[in-house]
């Protein structure tokens, strides 16, 4: 399988605090990869570096063999590498359907295209995806009227609407009612299998990530601690120590 994302020797520090030190990881096209580690281990910083939220100090980040570490957030998003936020972010003043309609891929968006009406097929796809995430009946409701969990689903739907090649999910199950988590895992799997979207997932819920991911990377204190299959990492002494604070 070809590598869709290659991170090589990435370091990032804020002031004197090193958040990421010399991190290398890669994700193959079509994979589901998990990123775990205790709080403050630098997972979200790494996400932010990958999607261009801040410049990195050293190292290289390649997406589909193209160096992206110098690109800005919107440019990277238009290449098909998208992220969701830990603190869910949707357009709260707009209806769910409008949230979806504006979330199509902007890679070839022209001003003229934007000034034309919304094509029928885009509206249909938006409704399909809303159905998929279970928000179709609420499509005309303002996003601010949704519960936190529903907003999370909407954000996921918006990401799907964008038809990305790869999706970085920052704690997709945090704050979601436990009874809905299975449904979400199922949807993530289907997005991966049916739509061919590569996933890189930060997750604290061990049950979820062990079920979902094919491979895992574990960060601790800003450094890459271990990598392997869920089974391998579950038996890894270092990973356990990191989570229990013995590191």
């Amino acid at each position: 399988m070809s590598r869709i994302l290659e991170v090589e020797g990435v370091s990032k520090s804020f002031g004197g605090v090193v958040a990421n030190r010399d991190i290398s990881l890669n994700v193959a096209a079509g994979e589901i990869v998990g990123l775990i580690g205790p709080n403050g281990s630098g997972k979200t910083t790494l996400f932010n570096s990958i999607v261009g939220y801040h410049p990195i100090d050293s190292g290289s980040i390649r997406f589909e063999s193209r160096e992206i570490s110098r690109l800005r957030v919107p440019q990277i998003a238009r290449l098909g590498l998208l992220r969701t936020f830990q603190q869910t972010r949707v357009y709260k003043g707009m209806s769910c359907l409008e949230n979806m309609l504006i979330s199509t891929s902007h890679s070839g968006a022209t001003l003229r295209g934007m000034l034309a009406g919304v094509p029928r097929e885009i509206e249909e796809r938006a409704e399909e995806i809303l159905e998929f995430v279970g928000l179709y009946p609420k499509r005309r409701l303002a996003a601010s009227d949704l519960s936190f969990g529903q907003q999370k689903l909407l954000e996921f739907g918006m990401a799907l609407m964008n038809e990305p090649k790869m999706l970085l999910l920052d704690e997709p199950t945090a704050g979601i009612n436990p009874t809905l988590i299975n449904g979400l895992i199922d949807r993530l799997r289907r997005a991966n299998a049916q739509l061919g979207i590569t996933l890189l997932v930060i997750e604290h819920n061990m049950r979820v990530i062990m079920n979902l991911a094919q491979r895992l990377y574990c960060l601790a204190h800003g450094e890459l601690l271990a990598e392997g299959t869920p089974g391998e990492l579950q038996r890894d002494r270092r990973v356990l120590d990191a989570y229990l604070g013995a590191h």
Partner: protein
């Protein structure tokens, strides 16, 4: 897609009301010849409020300095009328066009720097822009400096003059309304709302935010400059600080009218402008020099007690009227 929040279908009683309003607007110079100028100014105010709302209400970029474009249009038009002798009507048209061109260019150039600012930095930055323009104009000899600039007089009959400008204002307001109504209904309008609600998210989704922000600001600049050009001709004399770049009157009125009517709605700024202008025309003269004190008081009162505006209040009261409905088909249980 129809965006219910913005457009009402024109049917039945609504259509009748619209037709009556249209007929009244068209016949106004004949029905109310004594107040034609005030009615012309009303349409200018509608343009002011609507264009302010394009960036302020729809895009979330609250500008205190949109009056900059009014002033640019006013001065450009007057200078063209002063310096080029193509006959009155041709020079007026040329002046309005030149004004629009300059305003849009300035909007695009300044937008590159200013629209990178968020929140109150943008608000105060644009305030600085508007006042700086007034101060610069008042020390620039070419445009008459602090002494102001007299606009060439309409050559024909005085009765025709007011009618002439009234219909220009009416057409401009109508054009602005239709253009913005159409714009908000497109995906461009959605992009503006997305920028307002969460610009970081919009960037993370790959939107060309800078491009859309600039286009929105330039759209406002375009209509404002033409309004400015006409306004200069109606008033007949341009004072750099008190008419062209009048930050403490037109500049702040724009904001106030849009907020009074309801930010981020199509009709809100129109209604706000009408109410504000009528109130002003009816009561302002009784205040005997205390007008500006009253203005300050009015701003405080509206902002403190009625920040959501008329349409905002109506929308919060009857959300389903604006399309916010939940369907409950059997068997579908949402998360």
């Amino acid at each position: 897609m129809r965006r219910e929040a913005l457009t009402f279908a024109l049917r039945g009683p609504r259509l009748a009301a619209a037709l009556i309003l249209a007929a009244l607007s068209l016949a106004a110079p004949f029905l109310f010849p004594a107040i034609t100028v005030q009615l012309a100014l009303l349409w200018i105010m509608v343009v002011f409020a609507m264009t302010w709302d394009t960036t302020g209400g729809q895009m979330g970029y609250n500008s205190f300095g949109n009056v900059l474009f009014v002033g640019l249009g006013m001065y450009a038009c007057a200078v063209v009328q002063r310096d080029f002798g193509l006959g009155y009507f041709w020079t007026l048209a040329a002046g309005l066009a030149v004004g629009a061109l300059i305003a849009v260019t300035v909007g695009a150039v300044l937008g590159a720097g200013m629209l990178g600012l968020r929140g109150h930095y943008f608000a105060i930055g644009t305030l600085g822009l508007g006042i700086a323009a007034g101060e610069i104009a008042s020390s620039w000899e070419y445009v008459g400096a602090g002494g102001g600039l007299t606009v060439p007089i309409y050559p024909g009959d005085i009765a025709f003059r007011t009618g002439f400008f009234y219909y220009q204002c009416l057409m401009l307001a109508l054009a602005t309304f239709l253009a913005l109504r159409w714009l908000y209904g497109t995906r461009f309008g959605l992009a503006l709302n997305a920028i307002r609600d969460d610009e970081d998210k919009a960037e993370a989704m790959g939107l060309h935010t800078t491009r859309y922000k600039t286009v929105a600001w330039c759209t406002a600049a375009f209509f404002l400059s033409i309004a400015g050009g006409i306004l200069g001709n109606i008033i007949g004399f341009i004072d750099p600080r008190d008419t062209a770049f009048a930050s403490s009157s037109y500049g702040i009125w724009m904001v106030l009218m849009a907020i009074l009517g309801g930010k981020g709605t199509l009709w809100g700024p129109v209604v706000g402008a009408v109410i504000f202008h009528l109130t002003q025309e009816l009561f302002w003269t009784y205040l005997l020099g205390w007008q500006r004190v009253a203005l300050g008081l009015l701003i405080v009162l509206i902002v403190v007690f009625f920040p959501q505006g008329i349409f905002g209040w109506v929308r919060a009261r009857w959300p389903e009227r604006f399309g916010a409905t939940v369907e409950k088909p059997a068997g579908t249980k949402s998360a």
